[in-house]
């Protein structure tokens, strides 16, 4: 069976796709340089 012929809701295919999506996102994120002094955001507080 070719990749295209596998059911789009086949759990094994979905698991592969989910891992690939997460990896693709990670690759795109890592391509974005962040200055070393940048910290994660903090919560907005009222003035």
């Amino acid at each position: 069976m070719t990749e295209e012929e596998r059911n789009i809701d086949d759990p094994a295919r979905l698991a592969d796709e989910a891992r690939e999506n997460a990896q693709k996102a990670a690759t795109e994120l890592r391509a974005q340089r962040v200055p070393i002094e940048t910290e994660p955001p903090t919560v907005f507080k009222a003035d």
């Binding site: 789009i8 979905l14 989910a18 940048t38 907005f44």
Partner: protein, 436 residues
């Protein structure tokens, strides 16, 4: 639930008889089924939690009770608010959310029931939640007004968590003014939610609101409509933008910074959601979830690396800085609510790589970079914790509603309400109702 509603209604009757009611006294509403309501089922839209009952009210529900509102319904939602990424509108214990304008179309997610119930006129307002579009999408698809508050303005105590750093609760109603009335009741400090900002909400007075709307500098990118709107939606969106320009004429071209909004928001809510639901994911009840793609997404999210999560979080700081700079030159950003109308309830929501599969929705093709305009506004606004108001602006050629969104800097809800309210005073799109 019926006993509770009747009890709250009787209490409202007594208050009204003594003439000490407020604007919400006796007004029925629905709460997305991720909000705890004492003694009522709170299923989170997910089969593993079908019998879940909490012993106390969520802060939002308790505040509305104190305001005299009557909890008339818990409203259906996408299971676990869509955490993991679902493929079908049917990803819910309650089945697909049906759109009141065409029941073969989806009502949007994950606040599916909140959008449908308000759109159908079953309740005058509902409470929805948004992690990355869950108030905006059902508001746009169902032709209602939705207000996503600044992160931290509304306490999330007693609400299911999908993403601690992204989740917001907000009202969905027929008008911007109704949303403002509800937000006034539910905003504010809460010792039960350490992320609550402590900020109250007060709408601008009539004259100040009119003046603020006229003076507001509106960032807009024409390609959001000209290039990204679906053929069915384009004309109505163009007309809506032209109408908006009449009430707030100071348009300037300005676009979001080029950043990978999709991967950022996906990584953050996936990593946080997987940790929140780790016990479920690794347990026997997990297979009860409806949507196979969502299950695969949640499992995969357990493996997201800490460095990638933290990198996405640090990029959020950069995004906040960039947007703060943008808001020195403009007051708000105007864009489409969604660039397309509600999809068929059987249509996959992603873009499965199968022969003959549906094309990706126009507004999911390109969220950032050249030609993308401000199509990444839902993702960027949520990542930066910014408030947004979504409101209907007409009907597409397929008879379904379309809408606009306006996003502002933190705590700019009064201006957002003023703008949408001014628009709704000059138009009647928000008054249209589906036929029985």
């Amino acid at each position: 639930m019926p006993e509770r509603a009747l009890d709250e209604a009787r209490r409202a009757d007594r208050a009204l008889a003594k003439k000490d009611g407020g604007p919400l006294t006796g007004v029925p509403y629905g709460a997305k089924d991720l909000l705890a309501a004492r003694g009522a089922p709170t299923t989170w839209g997910a089969p593993p939690y079908r019998d879940q009952i909490f012993g106390e009210d969520a802060t939002v529900v308790a505040k509305l009770k104190r305001s005299g509102a009557v909890l008339a319904a818990k409203l259906a939602m996408v299971e676990l608010a869509g955490g993991g990424g679902y493929r079908y509108p049917s990803a819910s214990l309650q089945g697909p959310g049906r759109n009141p304008w065409n029941t073969e179309r989806w009502s949007g997610g994950s606040s599916s029931g909140s959008g449908a119930a308000v759109g159908a006129g079953l309740v005058p307002f509902a409470i929805g939640s948004e992690t990355a579009g869950s108030i905006g999408t059902p508001s746009a698809y169902c032709g209602v007004t939705g207000l996503r508050p600044t992160y931290g303005v509304v306490s999330r105590k007693g609400a299911m968590a999908l993403s601690w750093t992204l989740d917001k609760l907000g009202p969905m109603a027929r008008t911007a003014d109704d949303c403002a009335t509800v937000l006034e009741a539910i905003a504010g400090a809460d010792t039960g939610d350490p992320t609550a900002s402590g900020k109250r909400f007060r709408p601008l007075s009539g004259r100040a609101a009119t003046s603020a709307a006229k003076r507001a500098r509106i960032a807009f990118a024409e390609e959001d409509v000209s290039e990204h709107a679906s053929p069915e939606a384009k004309r109505a969106l163009e007309k809506g933008v032209a109408e908006f320009k009449r009430i707030a004429p100071s348009f300037v071209r300005a676009t979001l910074p080029a950043m990978p909004f999709g991967p950022m928001v996906q990584t953050v809510y996936s990593a946080e959601g997987a940790e929140i639901f780790a016990e479920l994911i690794e347990g026997k009840r997990f297979e009860q979830l409806v949507d196979a793609r969502q299950k695969a997404g949640l499992r995969a999210a357990l493996e997201i690396k800490a460095r990638d999560y933290l990198h996405a979080m640090r990029l959020r700081t950069r995004l906040q800085d960039a947007l703060a700079a943008m808001f020195r030159d403009v007051d708000v950003i105007l864009s489409v609510g969604r660039a397309m109308t509600a999809t068929p309830i059987t249509q996959p929501l992603d873009n499965p790589a199968s022969p003959g599969g549906p094309k990706p929705p126009p507004d999911k093709r390109n969220l950032s970079g050249p030609g993308s305009g401000n199509m990444g506004l839902i993702a960027a606004g949520n990542l930066a914790g910014l408030p947004a108001i979504f409101f209907p602006c007409g009907f597409a050629t397929d008879g379904l509603p379309v809408g606009l969104q306006v996003v502002g800097p933190p705590f700019s809800e009064p201006l957002l309400v003023a703008l949408a309210s001014a628009y709704q005073r000059e138009t009647d799109h928000h008054l249209k109702r589906p036929r029985d």
